[in-house]
Symmetry: C2
Subunit: 311 residues, 2 copies
């Protein structure tokens, strides 16, 4: 059943006692959607809570306006969750129980009768923005803050090509509603822990180049990232490809089980997916991955040798 945003609002208005599911390793988009929808539902007199595997520290300051409510859930909504597998530790409890899916991943495969999936939206937050006005909720500053966070984080602050003119117009309206975009952007895009800065320094020290400097390889060992949260190490894979002239950036991460997770990022000329298929992996043309075993030196030697044949 293909719903319109008006129909989604009508469905929500008919129900009460909502649980809103987000995906594991939660990011600004799923949290922004979850908390904004929760606050809007509470505002119009419904009961609602957000179910998440985690609330990373940098998002905590945004969650103030959501009230903790006691109730037995009657209606389950997922936001920004493309696949039930991504519910993480909440999968067992909620698998097969989702009543309404709201998402922007064209690949959404959750088996659910009522789905609103708009792959044209850069962030699921764009959908929630429209939904909130259809629900008859007032756009408060805290709602605007959550939706701005959703949209700005999923577009790299409007840098990435998923950004559309509608995305920018929605953001313009959020500024008019008084959202604290300066503070949000500083936290989401500019603040790094001292440990992350130290890790980046170590990574740059050990960066290797091959293929006449068109390929750059970085790595992290378990020791280098010991005790660090995922939000402190995310974004590392973008380091090599930022360097002028680099057409293929390879990130090698040691994992606890003796495996090495490889992420490959390429520019237009090189097929990252083809490269990773050599090692039993796959992905997209510009971003792909695979898993290797051996010592770090072996793994890097294998990658260099394959790169020399590719680039």
């Amino acid at each position: 059943m293909k719903l319109t945003i008006k129909e989604v609002a009508q469905i929500l208005l008919k129900h009460d006692k909502f649980e809103i599911l987000t995906h594991n390793y939660p990011d600004g988009d799923c949290l922004g959607c979850g908390y904004a929808l929760c606050e809007a539902l509470q505002q119009i007199g419904k009961h609602a809570r957000v179910i998440t595997t985690d609330l990373p520290k940098r998002f905590v300051f945004l969650a103030d306006n959501v009230e903790e409510q006691e109730f037995e859930a009657e209606y389950i909504v997922s936001v920004d969750v493309a696949d039930e597998k991504l519910l993480g530790c909440n999968k067992e409890k909620y698998e097969g129980r989702i009543d309404l899916v709201i998402d922007h991943h064209g690949s959404n495969n959750i088996p659910c009768e009522q789905k609103y999936v708009d792959a044209e939206s850069a962030a699921a937050g764009e959908i929630i923005y429209e939904l909130i006005s259809e629900l008859g909720a007032v756009m408060t500053r805290s709602l605007a803050n959550w939706i701005y966070t959703a949209i700005s984080t999923d577009t790299g602050c409007f840098r990435y090509t998923n950004t559309s003119s509608r995305t920018l117009r929605t953001a313009a309206q959020l500024l008019d509603f008084g959202c604290d975009f300066g503070a949000i952007n500083k936290i989401m895009f500019e603040t790094k822990s001292r440990r992350t800065v130290q890790l980046e320094r170590e990574i740059l020290e050990n960066m290797r180049f091959c293929c006449s400097d068109k390929c750059a390889i970085i790595y992290t060992t378990l020791e280098m990232v010991e005790g660090m949260g995922d939000d402190e190490t995310e974004g590392l894979a973008s380091i090599p490809r930022r360097i002028e002239g680099v057409e293929m950036g390879i990130t090698v991460r040691e994992k606890p089980n003796g495996e090495y997770k490889i992420s490959v990022r390429t520019t237009d000329n090189i097929d990252a997916c083809e490269f990773c298929k050599r090692f039993g992996g796959g992905g997209h043309r510009a971003a792909a991955g695979c898993t290797l075993h051996g010592t770090l030196d072996d793994v890097i030697a294998q990658l260099v040798s394959a790169a020399e044949e590719t680039v």
Copy 2:
């Protein structure tokens, strides 16, 4: 004489043979404004050229659609130039000769009868966007590219608090005109030379903390930046303040004459201007500067000691 944007357009339509002045160490905003205005004037049958002290490499790909024309200049326009001093090596030739000022710096002090200064614009590019439609020029993709470059670079891609909802709406229209915002943002915000990456690594290696880690100090020596262009070292001053918990970031740059240029960036609690006044400098509350002499170690020791009294 306070002009409207319509009047600015009428003035330009009455004249021909334009030279458009930009400021020294040219950035995306002044170049974007200069080349966009030049292309628009050429498009409506005028003669025009941009006068700049330099065209940094990362902007070259945008300048394709401006035709080189031979003519004797009759009318001089400055864009994004707050002070004639900022004309750099073109100051001597053009000082006192500017016929029309277009700018977004409230502090603009160019002595000129005809001025259009709109301090509400995050970038002078927002003014040029409106002007182009008043001139009756067609918004081509290359015009959209220049204006997008102007606006995105002056707002840190819409991250900084100078961004307004109008800024975002203007950017939305530029996307609708087909501007290559993905490619532009990649070049302006993501690409670093290998040398810059190496310099950042050295800077992080030598970073010092004081005041219980609330103050971070970085430095560059002449040796560290030898042969590097200004566009490879700009943005260094933002490194320390990006670190979580740092409230005062100090950047020390060795200069050829034995001087050290100090840049201080602070968060809300600390007055950078007061700090720099101790050393005969000044500036704004959140960003200020001063000049010190001595050996690098002496200079840093003086800064640490003053910081311990301030933070």
